[in-house]
């Protein structure tokens, strides 16, 4: 496999709409995927992410819109002529063929000579660390191995675009974590433009160059993982990525107040009528020595303390009434001094962790 970074194609999605009766599966979606990029479509079930992937693959015909791979308009091209590699949630391996039979299938369709097929199949299998598995039957493989064969089959004919539909959702956690890293390495090695669909935000954050958060057939935000995490554009994105507490704050001119006390924040305020304070549980800190200068402090009472081995989870009720969740690392220094039920605590939020977002729900 050569590094095809220069050959990878960009994808241009313009104004794609797909309706089923009154339901907008995709609502005027536009998106640019850079050449060689790993882009994830992230969203809950029914958000439209799989529909969009199927439009890219050619299995779902939109009502209108344009789709370009590089310079080529492909919106009306049938699936078998689109030259994209695709993996399916159920792997969709052909049980009546061996592993080599499966992986060699696209090459046989393209009428390559036998010797070439055998060589390319073996190379593809080696790329996914299944060298020599050619003669195995599909039902003899484990879930993780099936996943890799599916990938090998999708890349063996060297497509310039790779589409993956929740490939890891059927695997157990340990295997999933391992495969995430492997797929990422594979992408770096082969360099093809990859569009990846998942509902697991952690997976998206781990693997992607950019993430498009999708809901109700629309793209909520398209950014790098860091950007999405630190500066979510709206409540939905903020809620979907990570677990946060949201507190309603009041705007007072150019400032915001919470519980009558002004908040110290870094960066400009979003230009929306409703504002909310997003508190990431790992960013808010249990202050051991009372309120801290130059930061936002909240007085609260501990209602629940859960020891989780490597971390602890603290639920506290603010004096203003709301519940806040806080996660901290368990270290030798605090292991025996965690708060008890009913203890008074001070929670501190640094200005750079004080994130204010558009409070409207979309």
């Amino acid at each position: 496999m050569t590094n095809t970074a220069t050959e990878a194609l960009p994808i241009s999605v313009q104004n794609i709409t797909k309706t089923y009766g009154a339901v907008h599966a995709l609502d005027d979606v536009s998106l640019e995927v850079k050449s060689g990029e790993f882009l994830t479509l992230l969203g809950p079930s029914g958000s439209g992410k799989t529909t969009l992937l199927m439009v890219l693959a050619g299995f779902t015909r939109p009502d209108c819109g344009s789709l370009k791979f590089g310079d080529r308009e492909v919106i009306r091209t049938p699936p078998h002529l689109r030259e994209v590699g695709m993996t399916f949630q159920s792997y969709a391996l052909f049980p009546h063929m061996t592993v080599a039979g499966n992986v060699g299938y696209p090459l046989r369709l393209r009428k390559r000579p036998k010797a070439e097929i055998a060589e390319r199949v073996e190379r593809a299998l080696e790329t996914v660390q299944l060298g020599g598995y050619g003669n195995r039957r599909v039902d003899q493989l484990s879930g993780g191995q099936k996943q890799r064969v599916a990938v090998a089959r999708a890349i063996v004919f060297e497509p310039r675009i790779l589409l993956m539909d929740e490939p890891l959702s059927a695997l157990d956690k340990k295997l999933r974590d391992q495969m995430q890293i492997e797929l990422r390495h594979l992408h770096e090695k082969l360099g093809m433009t990859t569009v990846y669909v998942t509902h697991d935000q952690r997976e998206a954050l781990t693997m992607s160059d950019r993430i498009a958060v999708v809901n109700h057939g629309r793209i909520m935000q398209l950014s790098t993982p860091r950007d999405l995490y630190e500066h979510p554009a709206n409540r939905f994105v903020a809620d979907f990525i990570g677990d946060s507490t949201f507190l309603t704050v009041n705007r007072l001119g150019a400032d915001v107040t919470f519980g009558g006390v002004p908040l110290i924040h870094a960066g400009p305020l979003p230009d929306t009528p409703e504002l909310q304070l997003m508190i990431r549980p790992e960013r808010i800190v249990l202050s051991s020595g009372g309120p801290r200068e130059g930061a936002n402090n909240f007085a609260a009472t501990a209602t629940d303390v859960v020891y989780q081995g490597d971390s602890f989870l603290l639920h506290a009720r603010l004096d203003t009434g709301e519940m806040v969740a806080l996660r901290g690392a368990v270290r030798g220094s605090n292991a025996t001094s965690l708060p008890q039920l009913g203890d008074r605590v001070t929670l501190t939020l640094a200005p750079e962790d004080t994130v204010l977002i558009d409070g409207s729900q979309t």
């Binding site: 313009q14 104004n15 709409t17 609502d27 005027d28 015909r61 009502d63 209108c64 009306r76």
Partner: protein, 296 residues
């Protein structure tokens, strides 16, 4: 977001969609065409013919004959008699047998299934012929019964209603056993355990829990048997000996002997309407899609 320009490619995409739909649907067109030409159109024509009288003009005489002539009424009564009796006997014999099969471990159950499927796959004519031979005056049944001392004179158990019923039940049994067995196998055994746990005796548990759960399968099987019996020809024709005349046989003799197309088609139309009506009523109570495995 509002559209600033006309929807991109909408017309072309619509055309592609329509073409694909037509192509896929078109795959079933040879089948549909064949059925239209060989079945629907001729039967439609028969429908038309049934309203033509002896003088070649439109008339209802073919239908009036069915109500006025006693022989015709008797034919309908006989047909219903045979169908109801056969269905009833199939239920009495088939339900317990299906229950027996459902209680067996799967290897033996499959063996029993073969004894049910074997006659099912054998030619109808062969089975009817076999019964003819078994039931005749010097047939096996009579010979053995006499030699065992069960009765003295050979009984007339063929060329009459008895023989017809025996043959029909034998042919229809698999049609009842298979759906009932299917329904029984699908019952979760935990239901019966729960019933026993709640205090039901085996008999009560059976009638209040098991039986109602098998009712849809039983209904489906009985329905199929009844409808098949209504239109049945071969077995009553051979085993009835001319004494058991069903509607189907009358239709055949109307054509073969009397060449009376009007009478024959009228009878056929009535038979068809009866069948459709019964199916329609039954579909109100039953999910026919599951039975035939069709639809989306």
């Amino acid at each position: 977001m509002s559209m600033q320009t006309a929807p991109l490619n909408a017309a072309g995409l619509r055309r592609d969609e329509r073409l694909e739909r037509l192509t896929l649907f078109g795959l079933s067109s040879p089948a549909i065409l064949l059925i239209l030409v060989v079945l629907v159109i001729p039967v439609g024509w028969l429908f038309y013919v049934s309203f033509i009288g002896a003088n070649g003009q439109f008339s209802l005489e073919n239908y009036e004959r069915m109500i006025s002539r006693r022989s015709y009424l008797r034919i309908f009564i006989t047909t219903f008699q045979v169908s109801l009796l056969t269905t009833g006997l199939c239920i009495l014999i088939g339900y317990p047998f299906a229950y027996f099969m459902s209680q067996l471990p799967s290897r033996f159950a499959n063996l029993c299934l073969i004894t049910v499927l074997l006659p099912f796959w054998t030619s109808l004519l062969v089975r009817t012929y076999a019964w003819l031979v078994l039931l005749q005056k010097q047939g096996l049944i009579n010979n053995w019964a006499i030699s065992l001392g069960l009765w003295d004179e050979p009984l007339k158990i063929v060329h009459n209603m008895t023989g017809t019923l025996i043959g029909m039940v034998h042919i229809m049994l698999p049609f009842l056993i298979l759906p009932v067995y299917g329904a029984m196998k699908a019952i979760d055994r935990d239901y019966l355990k729960a019933a026993a746990n709640l205090g039901a005796s085996p008999r009560v548990a059976f009638w209040t829990v098991f039986f109602p759960l098998t009712a849809p399968g039983l209904f489906a099987g009985a329905l199929m048997v009844f409808i098949l019996c209504l239109g049945f020809f071969v077995t009553p024709a051979v085993l009835g000996g001319g004494k058991v005349i069903m509607v189907s046989m009358q239709i055949v003799s109307n054509i073969e002997l009397f060449v009376n197309w009007g009478a024959a088609s009228a009878l056929g139309v009535v038979l068809l309407i009866l069948t459709v009506a019964i199916l329609w009523v039954a579909s109100r109570f039953l999910n026919l899609d599951r039975m035939t495995g069709g639809g989306h």
